[in-house]
């Protein structure tokens, strides 16, 4: 009889402890990205990098002993679905923070919802300036289009010494913002845009535009776009016999760009946030681990999503799994060592301040070419 009672007590205790750890032991973080549809490749990169980070954290005991659970949703870059996802994350899944591994459209429609619910969100690579303006709970670790555009302009006129420049601009928010910053910067140093043409996402043929550029013979061709288009533009440029220097931006930053453009990629200079020659060991370890797990090199989208996720994790580590405290901790982030460089701080608006990396393609790989840390260029707007 006594044994029974004792046994019962012990199992009751075990149950309490069990439930207790279950309660205390799981921190839920929300994540959304385009996993199906036209942007599925970027969604996969974002998801892969974040999953890798998650495994590493959970293997080493989670955050302060609590396991982390990632709630992953597919947004298909569709605004209606994104709004539904945001409500679901807040209400059903009760996440304490959210990472956007998605494009501008899903991120900007969900930002006000998270802000209102008091759940902090960190956007990894969405560029729309209105995202962080949704309120104090919204942050961004990636560059604003204009900041990167300015940095690209700086590279064009001061690093590559170009006087006459032709531009191919991708016709979405990213391309437009980039173009604006680029124009602003090169004008200051007397650079001249001799040709600018916008093209749609998914464009495959640049021959008409390139033939025109060849006739104009500029010092530099600056292309904004994602690696699919970028690789084709660069390849076709060389096939047409265009010899000028080509500059790109973070959309080029993918092993797929190197693969698709082949030899034509050599000599292309890009502005991005991931420095492949970064001496910091954890960067090299990440690159190695990613390669081992997924059989390919990580890209800019993956590295940015990883950083956005780690900013959240770091904040939880400091402040515990309380959304309000997490927000405060993120806002107070100082000198966060990210894959994509050191984030000195987040400004009032929630924009990260970090240097812009300049990489060059040599022998089919990205390598260090320079870094832009002039505050005049990299300081994001404050309001």
């Amino acid at each position: 009889m006594k044994k029974w009672i004792l046994g019962g007590l012990i199992s009751l205790l075990a149950l309490c402890v069990g439930v207790g750890t279950l309660w205390a032991g799981e921190i839920k973080i929300g994540f959304f990205a385009p996993l199906t549809g036209f942007a599925a490749a970027d969604g996969a990169s974002a998801k892969n990098a974040v999953t890798l980070a998650l495994e590493k954290i959970n293997v080493s005991g989670g955050i302060n002993g609590n396991k982390v659970k990632l709630v992953i949703y597919d947004d298909r870059v569709n605004p209606q679905e994104s709004v539904a996802i945001a409500n679901k994350l807040v209400e059903r899944d009760k996440v304490v923070a959210v990472v956007s591994g998605s494009y501008s459209t899903p991120t900007r429609v969900t930002a006000p919802i998270f802000n209102k619910a008091g759940i902090p969100m960190v956007a990894a690579y969405a560029v729309d300036p209105s995202i962080t303006r949704a309120g104090p709970y919204i942050f961004r670790t990636g560059f604003l289009g204009e900041v990167e555009g300015k940095a690209a302009g700086e590279v064009a006129v001061n690093l590559l010494k170009a006087k006459t420049i032709a531009m191919f601009t991708i016709d979405n928010d990213f391309g437009r913002a980039l173009s604006k910053g680029f124009h602003e910067r090169i004008k200051k140093f007397g650079g001249k845009v001799v040709y600018e043409h916008a093209f749609a996402i998914g464009t495959k043929d640049f021959s008409a535009m390139l033939t025109k550029v060849k006739a104009l013979d500029p010092d530099l061709l600056f292309i904004s776009g994602y690696y699919e288009e970028a690789a084709l533009a660069v390849k076709q440029a060389r096939e047409l016999g265009l010899t000028c220097r080509i500059e790109g931006e973070e959309g080029f930053d993918s092993p797929k760009f190197l693969e698709l453009a082949g030899d034509a990629a050599n000599g292309v200079v890009i502005t991005t946030n991931l420095n492949r020659d970064d001496p910091r060991p954890f960067v090299q370890n990440f690159i190695k681990a990613y390669k081992k797990k997924y059989g390919m090199e990580p890209d800019m989208v993956g590295a940015s999503s990883y950083d956005a996720f780690m900013v959240v994790v770091n904040a939880i580590r400091k402040a515990g799994p309380n959304p309000k405290a997490i927000r405060k901790a993120i806002a107070e982030t100082k000198d966060f060592d990210g894959l994509t460089g050191r984030i000195t701080h987040f400004n009032k608006l929630g924009e990260a301040m970090k240097p812009v990396q300049v990489q060059i393609v040599k022998g089919g790989e990205f390598h260090y070419f320079g870094v832009i840390s002039d505050p005049e260029i990299i300081t994001p707007p404050n309001k």
Binding site: T36, V83, T105, D171
Partner: protein
Amino acid sequence: MSAYIVTVSITIGIYVILAISLNIITGYAGQISLGHAAFFGIGAYASGMLATRVGAPFFVCLPFAVVVTGIVGAILGIPCLRVREDFLAITTMGINFVVQAVFLYVPFFGGALGISNIPVPSIHGSDMTKPEYLIMVLLFILLSILVDGWLTRSWTGLALSAIREDETAAEMSGVNLTRFKVIAFVLGSAMAGLAGSLYAHFMSFISATDFGFAESIVILSMVVFGGIGTLRGPIIGAIVLGVAPELFRPILNYRTLLYGVMLVVLMRFQPQGLLGIDSFVTRTLKRLWKKETRGYEPAA
């Protein structure tokens, strides 16, 4: 009710209005349109721009959007009168691309960033809550159903179905093709404009990419999936195809695949649509209904 369910319901409600409106053009008048999202977009932009640029209240923006979209529908309906059947379908698709490109490229329409910060409608000086918004959407669905009911019972409705069955025969028997086709286009477009306005003030951000060809296909699929040419069909189609992707959400990798497969399977085995005339479900429901009523008969 949870905000998640309310949000999904509002989205589906907007699709119900869109499906009803497309059904007027494609289901009743038989003019296949592959560009309905263009009118949805015109309504959204008209309403969103009036609200953000002029600061007009929602209850001014909404009728404005309806009128503007109706007028544009009439203008764009004119080239559509020149072409028939599949040529018309592809022309409407072309119109969709051109309208979208104009929104994207003309700076007046906000370019690639679209229109931001469209205000939530307010009643009695305070912002409408989500459940209140849902109630409003439901009221507009009711209005759309009433318009639809009036149409199908009127002479216009008869003329439209005559056009659908055989244009030449309809013309021979004195139906003014131009007039009735334009009526169908204007009515359908204006109703899509209404949906656009509701969408703009619900999402608060709109951009050209929201109103592309793919969106037109989504709306058309809803109409056909539920049962084209009936009122119940488009409504049920919008609900089923709106809820399905949410239900499939946990199976991340296969949800879009499943959506495609659903369309194929239904068209293969129930080409009338789920609740179309003489579909399996409709017949079964009718049979059950009859049995039940017959069951009560002996009492009398």
